[in-house]
C-alpha cells in the first residue's frame, strides 16, 4: 500500500482526477482555469486604477486564489508525505537527447541545470526562468487561457478557440524544444 502511494501515479489515474476536479469546480458554479489567477493578482495589487484590463471585481475570484493556495499545499504534502523522491522515469530517448544539451539524467523531479541555486544565480539561468515565466504569463492572457482553461476546459466543451490555442501551445513548445534549445543549452 505504501509503495502504491510513493511510486509514480499512472497517467489514467491522474487524468481521471483532473477531470473530476474540473467537474467539481463546475458543480460549485465556477470553472477550471488557473492562469486567471495571474490577472487577479495584478488586479488585487491595485493597478486596475490605471489599467483598464485589471479593473474588475477581483474579489469574485478569491475562490480561484484559494485553489492556488491549495495547489501549493498539495505540492508540499506530496513531497513531505507521499514521495520517495525517485528520479522522474522519463524515456531513455529523452535522456539521450537532453544529454546532448548538457542536461543530466533526472536525479529528482526537476533538472539541477535549471532550478538549483547555482543556476538561479547565474545570468543565463536567471534569464531562462525569467523569460519562461514571462512568456507563460503574457501568452496565457493573450490566448485567454492556459493548459487548464483551454486544453482541459475548452476542449471538453469542444470549443474551436481552445483547439486553436492548444495548437499554438504545441507550435511554441516544439519551436522552443527543437530549434531554440540547441542554441541556448
Amino acid at each position: 500500500m505504501n509503495d502504491f502511494i510513493t511510486q509514480t501515479w499512472s497517467w489514467w489515474f491522474s487524468g481521471i482526477v483532473i477531470s473530476a476536479i474540473m467537474f467539481f469546480l463546475i458543480y460549485f458554479g465556477q470553472s477550471f482555469g488557473f492562469s486567471s489567477n495571474l490577472r487577479t493578482i495584478c488586479a488585487a495589487s491595485g493597478v486596475g486604477k490605471k489599467i483598464k484590463f485589471f479593473d474588475f471585481n477581483w474579489k469574485s475570484q478569491i475562490w480561484n486564489i484559494m485553489f492556488l493556495l491549495g495547489a501549493i499545499i498539495g505540492g508540499f504534502i506530496a513531497k513531505q508525505f507521499l514521495s520517495n523522491d525517485v528520479p522522474v522515469e522519463i524515456s531513455t530517448a529523452t535522456i539521450q537527447d537532453l544529454s546532448k544539451l548538457h542536461i543530466a539524467a533526472p536525479t529528482t523531479l526537476q533538472p539541477v541545470e535549471l532550478f538549483s541555486w547555482n543556476a538561479v544565480l547565474s545570468i543565463k539561468g536567471f534569464l531562462i526562468l525569467a523569460f519562461g515565466g514571462f512568456f507563460v504569463g503574457f501568452g496565457s492572457r493573450y490566448a485567454g487561457g492556459c493548459t487548464s482553461g483551454h486544453a482541459i476546459s475548452g476542449l471538453s466543451d469542444l470549443q474551436m478557440p481552445s483547439l486553436i490555442a492548444v495548437i499554438g501551445f504545441f507550435i511554441g513548445g516544439l519551436l522552443m524544444t527543437h530549434f531554440i534549445f540547441p542554441l541556448i543549452f
Binding site: S91, I152, S162
Partner: protein, 138 residues
Amino acid sequence: MMKLLKFLFLGIVFGIVMTKSEAVSWFRIQEMFRFQSFHMYGIIGTAVTLGVLGVALIKRFKIRDFQGNPIVFYPKEKSFIRYIFGGIIFGLGWALSGSCPGPMVVNIGYGFFALIIVFLFAIFGTFIYGVIKDKLPH
C-alpha cells in the same frame, strides 16, 4: 470562509495528483514535446475524453449546480489571431520553464523555490499584456 474551503481542498488534490503523476516535471514536458512517451498525452487525453463526455451529459440532462442554478458553458470569443499568437508565446514559455501556471505554484510548494522567479515573471507577463493589450492584434 467555509464556502471557500472546498476550493482549497480541490487545489490540494490538484497539487498532489500533479506532483505524483510527475506532470509538474520539466523532464516530462520535454518528453512530451519530443513525442517520446505517452505519459503526458495519456493524462491530458484521459482528462479531455472524460471532460467531453461529462460536459455533454451536463448539457443533455440540464444538470444544475450545487445551488440549483443552471450550468452554462460560455462560448469563447471567436477569433484566430489571438489564440494562435497567444498560444505560441505560451508554448515557448511552457517548454522553456517546463511549467504552466498551475505546476509553477505546485513546484514552489514542493520546495523548488527557483519557480518563485518563474511565477513572478508570469505575473509580470500578464501585467505587460494588460498594458499593451489594445495595441496587439486580436
